[in-house]
């Protein structure tokens, strides 16, 4: 497989085409599902970025003249119990979802990366103690940990991000550490150490780049999980709070109570969550296949 990649680049170089563009095209052909996922993610990012420009309704203002309007020409996805346009709230909700998804997963897995690599690099007693601490955090299910954090610090978007980030750290650290353990044994790390480089430099220059694959895989997995967790917390009433538009929040309370007469209220936000997480997972899977040689398809 490694051989074929080199060939691709050589061919690209011969045709005088920028190699990365060529590689991208190649990747899309080999991983159509992953590419589709990436496209949907980009679409959601686009929606979130230009939400104000493409919507006509106010996402938070109550409008009691149009409560529980079924989907139609004026409101494509209908309106909720406060008369707010559901499509508008889904588009603005993408902002909340992506913010939570990106921040929680990037911060969580990056901290995990740093901790995992450091632990593997120093090894010995430090590693042992560190591993036990990680074990402790891992022994609580994700949602339980998140619930506790939100109960302490209160609800609201920053705290939700915090609540989701904390349980991600040990999960990423553990995976990264096991890869880093292998890297540590590679002679050039030893060489660097005998040359007397400072630890920080060795860790950053030599170890970290070699564990980018598991790091990126965890990162993409976390994005989907973070969006789901945010939805679960909001559904329990402990997540993002009204009137902020957020998908999980839209499934809660009135959405459920009036589900029989106004099924559009719970259906569309649920679809939005599913689509977004689905897309993140498709993309993540394709990335995993590409980066993790053991699973790479021939």
């Amino acid at each position: 497989m490694a051989v074929s990649e080199i060939t691709v680049e050589e061919v690209a170089a011969e045709r005088n085409e920028p190699s990365h563009r060529r590689a991208l095209r190649d990747w899309i052909c080999r991983k159509p599902l992953g590419a589709a996922g990436a496209f949907v993610v980009l679409f959601f990012i686009f929606l979130a970025a230009v939400a104000e420009l493409i919507t006509v309704y106010d996402p938070v203002a109550n409008s009691f003249e149009s409560m529980h309007v079924p989907p139609g020409a004026a409101h494509w996805f209908g309106t909720d119990q406060f008369g707010r346009d559901i499509l508008t709230r889904i588009i603005f909700g993408a902002r909340t979802a992506l913010l939570v998804g990106f921040l929680a997963s990037v911060v969580g897995s990056t901290l995990g990366l740093v901790l995992g690599v450091t632990s593997a690099y120093f090894g010995g007693r430090f590693d042992l103690i560190f591993q036990r601490i990680m074990d402790v955090f891992m022994s609580f299910p994700l949602i339980i940990m998140a619930l506790a954090v939100v109960s302490i610090f209160g609800t609201g978007i920053q705290n939700v991000i915090l609540a989701i980030t904390i349980p991600f750290i040990p999960r990423c650290a553990r995976v990264v550490r096991s890869s880093a353990l292998a890297v540590r044994e590679i002679p050039y790390v030893d060489a660097a150490r005998t040359l007397g480089f400072v630890h920080t430099r060795i860790i950053l220059r030599h170890m970290v780049p070699n564990v980018m694959a598991p790091y990126l895989i965890m990162l993409t997995t976390f994005m989907g999980q973070a969006i789901l967790l945010e939805a679960s917390l909001s559904y329990l009433g402990l997540g993002v709070q009204e009137p902020t538009p957020a998908w999980g929040l839209m499934l809660q309370g009135g959405a459920e109570e009036y589900a029989e007469s106004a099924p559009w209220i719970p259906i569309f936000p649920g679809l939005a969550i599913t689509t977004a997480v689905f897309a993140f997972n498709l993309f993540g899977d394709a990335l995993r296949d590409t980066l993790d040689p053991r699973l790479r398809s021939e």
């Binding site: 409560m67 119990q81 009204e242 809660q252 007469s261």
Partner: protein, 539 residues
Amino acid sequence: MKAMRWKTVIALALIAVFAIFAAGSASAAPKKGGVLKFVVGSKIPSYDAHVETTFGMIHPIRPFYSLLIRVNPNNPSSPTDFVCDVCEGSIPTPTEESTKYTFKIRDNIWFHDGQKLTAADVKATYDKIISPPKGVVSARKAFYTMVESVTAPDKNTLVFKLKYPSGAFVPALASPFNFIYRKADLDKHGYTWHKKNVNGTGAFRFVQHKPGAFVEGKRYAKYHHKGKPYLDGFRAISAPKMSIRLQAIRGGRASIEFRGFPPKARDDLKKALGGKLKVQESDWNCNLMITPNSKRAPFNDARVRRALTLAVDRWGGSKYLSRIAIVKTVGGIVFPKHPFAATKAELQKIAGYWPDINKSRAEAKRLLKAAGVDLSKTYIFNNRGVDQPYRVVGTWLIDQWRKVGLKFKQEVKPSPAFYDSLRKKKDWHVSIDFNCQSVINPLVDVSKFLSNDVSGSQHAQYQDRTMDKLYDQMNREADPAKQREIMRKYEKRALDTMAHQFVTLWWYKINPHRSDVKGWKIAPSHYLNQSLDQVWLDQ
């Protein structure tokens, strides 16, 4: 004294009206048998009603016990109609300048363990409520500060001696939390035994309780109200989510829920069940309040607080918000159906109740500008993590304030954390507060507007001695017409002149139930009329 007579007149009038009404409708004789299934939205703490404050305990446990007096189960909507439960005859007229109440205790009452009830049991119960021994909790002790002593001179006589005459005494006796316990149980097992054990004289006997699932009761054959109860038993099923409770009624898993649903839910049920559904509605002795933090800028400025209330369109909310929340009635500080409550004309003179909302909001904006409020800032609005009606009303309020340019961030907290913030931390600019009582007793209920060092339940942190003085004056006044007049002054000062705290909308109780549930009448509180001895199933 005059107050009592006045109340009796009202009560008699209401009874007369009811009698005519009942004569017309009481065509079907109650049928015996059947098990009533109902859903309860809150969790059962302990079984000891003297300690607890939640309806989650009242609904499943109240049928096991009796009270000294209770709200008339045939006329529960009246705020002044009380009848005897374990006492005999009618509510006694006080003697010795309205300070002595002598109750006759019935001779035909047995506890579920077979022992006879005497006046000594009732005395022991009230001693536990009014003057509990050290280390024993009594949640509503403060309601009985007027009581000097409780005595039982013989087996069938119970005497309350008051320190001073008080119109608040009889309604306080009717509290649904005052379960009658057996003296021997208290003596032998101690004061905490009733937290986990049941031995009452109510219409039903305790069978079992599966925590988090259900409470089961069966008919008590020796119940002292002859011929009752009609049901063979009941099953109180725990269902914390409103959507489940709704679907349970719709899908026939339960026949009734005793707290209340929003109108939209009622309409959905009606559409699905048609004639199989009956709906009872009533004003509700609960309201949500807006409590500005008077120690925190900019809400330490009365102009800003006035703007807060001026921005809220109560008349509009009553029309629209009431479709999706369990609130509806526009009212002042007194329960809207009580004679002491302000009329519509009187209300419309108070800030926030003006008939023209545009004028009201323009004034709000002017006041905000005059006070120099920073409108670019986002203020903190503290709310409780309960959907109906707290979060729905909260979301509505934030939108109302947005219309005059005030931005709020809603911080919703689980109940214990909410209380902690509300009562101690004060880490908010404006908070939801609530006042939700069982027996309608305006003289007690409006104590929430007193200075914080006097009231003990006022969390806006203001001190206003004029309010305290008016309150004292009102309590000492014997003439109800004059009392009402002082109440108007008290109300105007709290809601408008000083703009201390505000009432949003009063709750509105809607109980849609399967039409085969008969004999249960809606009360203005979800705590009241829950002994279930009158209920029967038409099957």
